[in-house]
């Protein structure tokens, strides 16, 4: 579904970039959810370059009341955060998350793909089914690939919706992620005396869904 339309020889020239920028502007304004570049390309006339148009548009809205933001490989328009005080009417009351849920979410975000055993290892307590369910229901986490280790445990990863909610371009932009990695705090380090070689290869998997 997301395939780019075939690049046939177009009978017409693509519209000028300024016009393409208008089109991208219209589509992003019309959608509450982020729109993928592929989706933009499929809706715009042949030969358009939505990426270039997006960059132009993003610059145009710098400092304005709404901003053009990237969410994974999608784009959206969001109000500037400093104007949140104007939107009491639009504010959605969110259920307060438990401390367990917030920590579990952070662990998944920073360690993804991450198994339940790994979450428990980091927190030192078992993760209740309800915590993961709640995060799934919020559409902030989802199942990732199964780990190739014994038992083929299921992994969890964060969703584009999570990135959108917290205004992140990608999981690489999580606060402090570089420092944590440099300090070795995102490795899965086994208890000395326990053999856990199979965990090593998983680090390559980090942020698998973003390339």
């Amino acid at each position: 579904m997301n395939d780019l339309p075939e690049q046939e020889e177009s009978l017409f020239d693509a519209p000028p970039l300024a016009e393409q920028e208008r089109m991208v502007e219209a589509v992003l304004f019309a959608s509450a959810d982020p729109v993928t570049v592929n989706d933009l390309a499929s809706r715009m006339p042949h030969g358009c370059n939505p990426k270039a148009a997006l960059e132009l548009l993003q610059r145009r809205y710098e400092g304005r009341g709404v901003r053009v933001v990237r969410v994974g490989d999608s784009w959206a328009i969001r109000t500037a955060p400093d104007l949140g005080f104007l939107m009491q009417k639009e504010t959605v009351e969110t259920r307060k998350l438990s401390r367990a849920a917030i920590e579990t979410l952070a662990i998944i975000a920073y360690h993804q793909p991450c198994t339940r055993a790994e979450i428990e290892e980091i927190r030192g307590v078992s993760v209740s089914r309800g915590t993961l369910d709640q995060l799934m229901e919020l559409d902030w986490i989802r199942f990732g690939r199964r780990r190739m280790s014994p038992g083929r445990p299921v992994t969890y990863v964060v969703t584009p919706h999570f990135l959108d909610h917290f205004g992140l371009e990608s999981a690489r932009d999580l606060p402090g992620v570089k420092e944590l990695r440099a300090a070795g705090l995102l490795e899965s380090r086994p208890l000395p005396g326990l053999d856990a070689t199979d965990d090593d290869e998983d680090q390559d998997d980090l942020f698998e869904d973003e390339s």
Binding site: R78, M87, T94, I122, G124, G193
Partner: protein
């Protein structure tokens, strides 16, 4: 209900003790497991977690558990498992290393515990930073008046001339089997059943057995009844698929009931 005398005695005897116990109870409830408790205890050392004295920490933890036991505070099993492990770790750290021992040294185990505490704290801080970010629906907002993207699905049906000829050939060849077609008297087609049911469903406001919808007379002859039942059942499925009726069955082999779906 409370006996005032007893209350008083109790009060006099152990104000301090009870306060301490209450504080502990509150604390044990507030901890998310032994690792969390250890992290909390390590804060009293007021040093970088990397330079923490694990031995000291183990002692604090064991003391805490002892006190809780004295006060008969129920501790979850994992607190006791951790206590046992820390007691083991303590002995390793205090005794000179045994060269014949193959397992990890006390220092290695202590370093790992310090790493676990650091990591937990790092995740705590990250979680706090994450939640402090601007959030959708609270700090920044999405388009309030999104426009529907009209999804137009153009279905084109195709058939080639060959399809057409083969189809014609097929129906023409079927003529040979005409005699079989003559037997169709005892057969109710699904189309017929569908047409019949369509006319009846507006009146099917109550649950009723599907068998009561067989055409009149068809329920007597076994052959006809079989065909009519099958066709009516198939037709009811079709109508259910179209959302016009609801079907239910109490259990396996129970009668199937049908009712018009209220819109």
């Amino acid at each position: 209900m409370a006996d005032p005398d007893q209350f008083e005695i109790n009060d006099v005897l152990s104000v301090e003790q009870r306060l301490a116990a209450e504080a502990l109870i509150v604390d044990v409830d507030g901890f998310e497991g032994p690792l969390d408790l250890l992290l909390q205890l390590s804060r009293t050392q007021k040093v970088d977690l990397r330079k923490i004295s694990v031995l000291h920490l183990a002692q604090q933890y064991l003391l805490f558990i002892e006190k809780a036991k004295e006060l008969r505070i129920e501790l979850a099993a994992d607190y006791l498992v951790m206590a046992a492990w820390l007691a083991f770790l303590k002995s390793r750290l205090l005794l000179p290393p045994d060269p014949s021992d193959e397992g990890p040294s006390g220092e290695e185990l202590a370093a790992h515990l310090a790493y676990q505490l650091q990591r937990l704290e790092a995740m705590r801080e990250s979680a706090a930073k994450l939640m402090a970010r601007d959030q959708k629906g609270r700090d920044f907002f999405v388009r309030g008046l999104p426009e529907e993207v009209e999804r137009r699905r153009n279905i084109t049906y195709t058939a080639s001339l060959l399809d057409l000829m083969q189809a014609y050939a097929r129906v023409r060849t079927k003529d040979e089997f005409r005699p079989f077609v003559m037997d169709r008297e005892a057969i109710l087609s699904m189309e017929q059943a569908l047409e019949r049911l369509r006319g009846l469903i507006p009146f099917a406001v109550e649950w009723a057995d599907l068998s009561s919808y067989l055409p009149e007379g068809w329920e007597l002859d076994p052959k006809k009844r079989r065909s009519a039942t099958a066709a009516t059942f198939a037709a009811s499925l079709e109508l259910a698929k179209q959302g016009q009726v609801e079907l239910r069955q109490g259990g396996t082999f129970e009668p199937i009931q049908i009712k018009a779906r209220r819109r």
